[in-house]
């Protein structure tokens, strides 16, 4: 057995070395073709088709009819490769495209995501991965079912796994649709279904086995795509190929520029001040219109509309409610733009000490929820069932974090480098002679890049630029002066990140339904063929349903992702951890803890998130995205109190806990 495993490992290393070399050669060939005049649109298509074709190839080669292969990749994925697969599984479109942009826009406060989404792996390593691997079944509800007994804990686990994975998968398919649409010119709706095909070819025939090996391939693409532009940009600004170390000095320059732009006595600061003054006047004008609307109502609206010419009338608000909404928005956006430049490195900004303390509390709460959520998301925990041993599972968490760390360690550097480029070079340049990348992106998508000469001085001021977060990663190749082929590569990387995460999530949902609901509860005598047929059928249904919901474009994707973490943390973490570390925990406790945690978390989100319209006061000023900060303690209390009020679990269960705690109980010394 050991011999075949090590031969298998050696083969894997050979395959993936060839693969990485081949991929780099492919990019170089495309770069040469671009120099020879291959149009950009064709390059975009070639990247899309070549990478999806590649994933399909791996998916078909990994097809399987074996239950253990389908659910846990035969439990022979070495630590190193499981680390890569977990990295791809974990890093979504939001990490790949959105993270650096969030950091660009929010500075220090965005670091909550960097710390939260990496530090959670410490909890995975210390509390869950080795024990789940020793338990060695197929899904996370499996563990709840075996440890707490009866179908109720398993059923709650299934429901919670579906709730958080489904909200998360919608955000991924949305990302796939956006990237496909942007780089091929297809409609968003068509892009969603093209992406769906890409997701299904990876997972349909081979389940976990196919998903694992495509995720490794996807990781290679996404990390190469992320690093090349950043290293290039770093060479341009710091003369060092390791931006993660050298960008401290760039950050100092950014801080100096922020001070200059905020100082009305400097030339550039005075120009900024003149733009801000115009924004303030616009805000005041909008406020005046709101006041007049309050007094005059529909009549006032009609007279104002009559004053305009026909083309302006078309975009004029249709009724009082629409006018009120539009003008209120005018007031707030103009006021926001009139504010001074935020300091990138300064934590917890606010107008007074109380506001700063609330900002700090929210930062810490968000970090906590993201960390505990990381250690509770079933599609990640499931990956540690696939290693050959407990020993490999422990190492595998280390490799996972290392591969995730490579990207997360780089994102803050990228944000600062781009910020420096914009503050130092774009600001102050002439509107007649804008850099090509600014003009290109402003033409493609106004939400990503909009630039208007507000004060008519012919020069660009920072306050005249509006940037969408996603621009940072997408435009870096052009800012760094790289050929289009690298922009195509970045798109392929973003696609790989979104596809790999979507694969893992869909498989989690389909497996919870086919294994936990169908096989464990409905028909325990089902044949292997039948179980696999059900699993694959459900995968298809869930995928189509998710794509359908995505094509409706449900609002506020970012909130959905954050909510998934708080929900998973409140539902799973207490029951899983106490299940291993506290023998006394029993079924009643688990049921009360899981339901209680989930209920508190959902209740808080429902009452405080503006979308639901309740708008109850927040507890301690905590934002709804961090609802888990209340759900998690309630979950722990629920398990503890519920267990102590009822009898201790049976001997068999206590023996199961011992079985999980020791990698080998037989003792072979």
């Amino acid at each position: 057995m050991a011999q075949t495993q090590s031969a298998f490992n050696a083969n894997l290393k050979r395959y993936y070395s060839f693969y990485t070399g081949g991929f780099i050669a492919f990019v170089i060939v495309l770069a040469i073709l671009e120099q020879m005049g291959l149009p950009n649109k064709i390059i975009g298509y070639v990247f899309l088709l070549a990478t999806i074709g590649l994933y399909a190839g791996i998916g078909i080669m990994s097809r399987t009819a074996d239950i253990a292969e389908y659910y846990v990749a035969g439990r022979k994925v070495p630590a190193f490769f499981n680390g890569m697969a977990t990295g791809a599984d974990w890093m979504s479109a939001a990490s790949f495209i959105g993270m650096a942009g969030t950091l660009y826009l929010t500075g220090y406060d965005g670091l909550a995501f960097i710390m939260g989404w990496t530090g959670g792996y410490v909890l995975v390593a210390l509390f869950l991965a080795p024990y789940l691997r020793k338990f060695g079944q197929f899904t996370i509800p499996d563990f709840l079912g075996a440890r707490y007994g009866g179908n109720l804990p398993r059923m709650i686990g299934v429901a919670a796994a579906i709730i958080c994975s489904f909200t998360y998968v919608i955000a991924q398919i949305y990302g796939v649709g956006l990237i496909t649409a942007r780089f091929t010119g297809l409609e968003f709706g068509v892009g969603v279904f093209v992406g769906l095909a890409g997701i299904l070819v990876c997972s349909f025939l081979g389940g976990m086995r196919a998903v694992t090996w495509t995720q490794v391939a996807q990781y290679v693409i996404l990390i190469v795509a992320y690093m090349i532009p950043v290293v290039w940009l770093s060479m341009k600004h710091t003369d060092s190929p390791i931006p993660q170390i050298s960008y401290g000095y760039t950050l100092q320059k950014v801080t100096a520029l922020e001070k200059e732009l905020n100082d009305p006595n400097s030339t550039r600061g005075a120009a900024e001040a003149s733009v801000r003054k115009i924004y303030l006047e616009r805000a005041a004008a909008a406020e005046a219109k709101l006041k007049a609307l309050e007094a005059g109502g529909a009549e006032y609206l009609a007279t104002e509309k009559a004053k305009l010419d026909e083309s302006a009338q078309a975009s004029f608000p249709a009724d009082v409610a629409a006018a009120k909404a539009a003008w209120t928005k005018d007031v707030s956006t103009n006021k926001a733009k009139a504010g001074p430049v935020k300091a990138h490195a300064e934590p917890f900004q606010g107008k007074d000490e109380a506001a700063r303390n609330t900002a700090r509390l929210n930062f810490l709460a968000l970090v906590f929820c993201l960390m505990v959520g990381t250690a509770s998301l079933p599609h990640i925990l499931m990956r540690y069932y696939t290693t050959p041993s407990v020993r490999e599972a422990r190492r595998s968490v280390g490799w996972s974090l290392f591969f995730i760390f490579l990207l997360y360690f780089t994102a803050p550097a990228l944000a600062v480098l781009v910020k420096f480029d914009i503050y130092a070079f774009l600001v102050g340049s002439s509107f007649a002679d804008l850099p090509a990348w600014v003009a290109n992106w402003a033409a493609v998508d106004k939400t990503l890049m909009a630039i208007v000469d507000i004060n008519k001085d012919g020069l660009v001021q920072l306050a005249e630029i509006t940037i969408g977060g996603d621009l940072i990663v997408l435009a870096t190749p052009e800012i760094a002066g790289l050929p289009y082929v690298i922009a195509g590569l970045v798109a392929a990387g973003g696609l790989a990140a979104a596809l790999s995460t979507a694969d893992g999530l869909l498989l989690t949902i389909a497996n919870a339904l086919s294994h936990d609901v169908y096989f464990k509860m409905i028909d325990p005598n089902a044949s292997t063929t039948r179980r696999l047929a059900i699993a694959k059928g459900l995968l298809l249904v869930v995928a189509l349903l998710a794509a359908y919901v995505t094509s409706l474009k449900p609002g506020d994707i970012l909130f959905l992702v954050g909510a998934a973490f708080s929900l998973a943390a409140s539902a799973f973490f207490p029951a899983l951890v106490l299940g291993v570390f506290w023998k006394r925990a029993n079924q009643t406790g688990a049921v009360i803890g899981m339901l209680g945690g989930l209920a508190v978390c959902m209740f808080y989100m429902y009452t405080t998130y503006p979308f639901f319209g309740v708008n109850a006061p927040q507890w301690f000023g905590i934002n709804p995205i961090s609802a888990g900060i209340f759900g998690i303690p309630v979950g722990f209390l629920g398990v503890i109190i519920g267990s102590l009020l009822t009898p201790a679990p049976s001997r068999e269960v206590q023996e199961l806990v011992d079985h999980v705690r020791y990698p080998n109980l037989e003792g072979n010394t």
Binding site: S6, Y108, M115, G248, L251, F348, G398, L401
Partner: protein
């Protein structure tokens, strides 16, 4: 399968190292973030320290914690004879 005293010792050593590493994790994450403004007064490699801890420093320490735990526990398994059989 009887859990002997020696095995209980293994488990309590596991709990101890888990608690120590968790304490380090807590300090690096929450204490450092709580005092981020104060730490920003100190400059390291050109970075304000509070910012550096959030963006880079804490990540490196997380990697070290996990690698150390894996190495420590895999050795502990052997010392207490609870390691898996098919190890190379």
């Amino acid at each position: 399968m009887q859990v002997t005293e020696r095995m209980q010792e293994y488990w309590s050593r596991n709990l101890r190292i888990t608690a120590i590493l968790l304490a380090i994790w807590f300090v690096v994450t929450y204490v450092a973030s709580f005092y981020a403004r104060e730490l920003n007064e100190i400059t390291v490699l050109g970075f304000p320290l509070g910012f550096y801890m959030g963006a880079q420093g804490s990540l490196v320490i997380y990697c070290v914690i996990i690698a150390f735990y894996a190495g420590y526990m895999n050795r502990l398994d052997r010392t207490y004879g609870v390691h898996e059989e098919d190890e190379d």
